[in-house]
C-alpha cells in the first residue's frame, strides 16, 4: 500500500454508496453509520477519508487543523480531491480533531441571504463512547442521543439558526452528523 492508496477503486459506485450513509446521518442526527474500505495517511480515519472522497473537490477549499495538517495527508488530498488547503476563515470544509478545530468562530456560518455558504466541520478521532448529549429537532423522532466533545458550542451554534456551521463526527469507520438545526441539551 503506497501513500496515495485508499481512494475509491470504482468512484461512481463507491461514492454513491458512501453518500447514502452521509445522507442518512445528516437527515437523522444521532444515527451512527459505518463507512468501510477507505483509508488515507494518519491520522485521518477511514470514515473521514470517505467523507472527503465523496464531498470535497477542487471547488471546495479545505482547512486542515492540527495533526491533520501534515505532508502525507496534504499529498493524499491533492491527489484524490484536489482541494486547495486554506485558512479556517476561507474553508468550505475543515478537518481535524475537535481540539484542533477550535476556536470555532473562525469558520463561515453563511449569510442571512445565503445560509448555505457555511463551513462543514469534519471532526476526526471522535470518541463515540463519550457522554451522550440529548438531541431534538428536524430528523429526530422525539429525541436522540449522540456523544459530543462538548455541548456549549453546539447550543450556541443552534441559537443563531439558520446561520451556523454543520458537523460530521468521524472515528474509525464510524460516522455521525450534527447539522446546525439540531437542538442540543
Amino acid at each position: 500500500m503506497n501513500e496515495l492508496s485508499g481512494g475509491f477503486a470504482d468512484p461512481a459506485i463507491e461514492s454513491a454508496i458512501a453518500f447514502r450513509a452521509i445522507l442518512k446521518v445528516t437527515a437523522r442526527p444521532g444515527r451512527v453509520e459505518t463507512l468501510t474500505g477507505h483509508s488515507g495517511p494518519a491520522p485521518i480515519s477511514s470514515a473521514a477519508a470517505a467523507v472527503l472522497l465523496v464531498l470535497v473537490d477542487r471547488t471546495t477549499p479545505l482547512h486542515l487543523a492540527g495533526d491533520h495538517d501534515n505532508p502525507a495527508l496534504r499529498q493524499w488530498i491533492a491527489f484524490h480531491c484536489g482541494a486547495p488547503v486554506v485558512a479556517a476563515e476561507e474553508a468550505v470544509f475543515a478537518l481535524g480533531s475537535w481540539a484542533a478545530l477550535t476556536p470555532l468562530d473562525r469558520f463561515a456560518i453563511g449569510t442571512p441571504e445565503y445560509p448555505d455558504r457555511a463551513a462543514t466541520l469534519i471532526v476526526d478521532g471522535h470518541d463515540f463512547d463519550a457522554k451522550p448529549a440529548e438531541l431534538r429537532g428536524p430528523g429526530i423522532k422525539g429525541k436522540a442521543k449522540l456523544a459530543l466533545p462538548e455541548r456549549k458550542a453546539f447550543i450556541a451554534n443552534r441559537a443563531r439558526f439558520p446561520l451556523g456551521w454543520d458537523t460530521f463526527f468521524c472515528g474509525g469507520d464510524r460516522l455521525a452528523a450534527l447539522p446546525r438545526s439540531t437542538e442540543v441539551r
Partner: protein
C-alpha cells in the same frame, strides 16, 4: 444493462458531488432553497430535470426506483424517467410504493404511508413560493432572510376576502420547522399533511430554476392558515368507484359521451392494491 457510454446515473462525479453538497446543506437548513448549477439533461426542463438530477446524485445501485406522475406510473413522463435510470444506473424499478427505496414524484405524494427506509424526490417547476407576489430574486432572498412573510399572508387573506375561503388548491405554501416558507411543488393541498412528521427523507429539485431544498424526516411542516380560516386538506366528497376508498385523493374521470363521470383514486398503485386485496 448499464449503458457504458455513461457514468453511473448519467451525471459526472464533479456534478454529483456538487448536488450532494447542496442536498446536505438543504437538510441542515430545512425549507431553504440552496442554489446549484443545474446541468443539461437529455430531456426537456418540463420533464423534471431537477428531480432527475437529485435522484441521480442519490441513487445506489441496489435501489428500487418508483416514478410517480400525477398518481400514475404509466404516463410518458414517468416511463421515460424510469427507463432513463434503468439504462444509466441499472437500478430495479417498481410501481409499488411499499417496494420502492427511492420515489421520484410529480404532483402527488403516495397514499401509502412512507417509511424510514425511503427517499421521496419531488420534481419542482417553481421553487420560490413568493415568486408570483414578488418577481425580484433579490427581494425574495431578503424576505426569506428576515422571515418577513407578511406578503404571503396578505395573498391568502385576499383569497378569503374574494372567495370566502383560501382558493389555492395546489402548491399550497407551507412553513418548515418553524422557519422557512416553502413551495411543496404542485401537489394538491390534500397531500400537504403527509409532508409533516414524515419518516422518509424528502428532497426537492428545480432544474430550470437551479434550486435544491429538503425536509428531513420527522420535521414539522405546517400549511399556512388563519385562526378564523384553518387549513383544510380538502378532496372531492366521494368514494373511489373502483376500490371504495373514502380517504384517498380522487380524480374525476369522464366515462362516456353522455357526460357520465366517476371519481377514482389518483394514486393508481394504492387503488389497484385495495381493489385486489379488499381493504388495503
Amino acid at each position: 444493462m448499464t449503458d457504458q457510454a455513461y457514468n453511473f446515473a448519467y451525471l459526472d462525479e464533479d456534478t454529483k458531488r456538487m448536488i450532494r453538497r447542496a442536498i446536505l446543506k438543504g437538510l441542515a437548513v430545512p425549507g431553504y432553497q440552496v442554489p446549484f448549477a443545474s446541468r443539461e439533461m437529455p430531456m426537456p426542463y418540463g420533464w423534471g430535470t431537477g428531480g432527475v438530477q437529485v435522484t441521480a446524485a442519490t441513487l445506489r445501485p441496489d435501489d428500487v426506483l418508483k416514478v410517480l406522475d400525477q398518481g400514475a406510473d404509466d404516463t410518458t413522463n414517468a416511463v421515460s424517467i424510469r427507463k432513463f435510470f434503468q439504462r444509466t444506473a441499472s437500478v430495479a424499478t417498481t410501481e409499488s410504493t411499499g417496494g420502492a427505496t427511492v420515489i421520484q414524484t410529480r404532483h402527488r405524494i403516495p397514499e401509502t404511508p412512507l417509511t424510514e427506509d425511503q427517499i421521496l424526490v419531488y420534481q419542482v417547476p417553481i421553487p420560490e413560493p413568493m415568486r408570483f407576489l414578488e418577481p425580484r430574486e433579490t427581494e425574495t432572498r431578503r424576505i426569506h432572510a428576515l422571515a418577513d412573510y407578511g406578503l404571503m399572508q396578505v395573498r391568502l387573506y385576499e383569497d378569503i376576502a374574494r372567495h370566502g375561503e383560501i382558493a389555492t388548491s395546489y402548491a399550497y405554501p407551507v412553513e418548515v420547522a418553524g422557519r422557512y416558507v416553502m413551495d411543496p411543488s404542485p401537489i394538491p393541498k390534500f397531500d400537504n399533511p403527509k409532508m409533516s412528521d414524515c419518516p422518509a427523507i424528502q428532497l426537492f429539485g428545480a432544474g430550470r430554476e437551479q434550486r435544491i431544498y429538503a425536509v428531513p424526516p420527522y420535521t414539522q411542516v405546517v400549511s399556512l392558515d388563519f385562526d378564523d380560516h384553518p387549513f383544510v386538506a380538502s378532496k372531492a366528497e366521494h368514494e373511489c368507484a373502483i376500490c371504495g376508498s373514502g380517504d384517498s385523493y380522487l380524480d374525476e374521470v369522464i366515462t362516456d359521451d353522455a357526460g357520465g363521470r366517476m371519481f377514482v383514486c389518483s394514486d393508481t398503485d394504492y387503488c389497484a392494491r385495495r381493489a385486489e386485496g379488499g381493504a388495503a
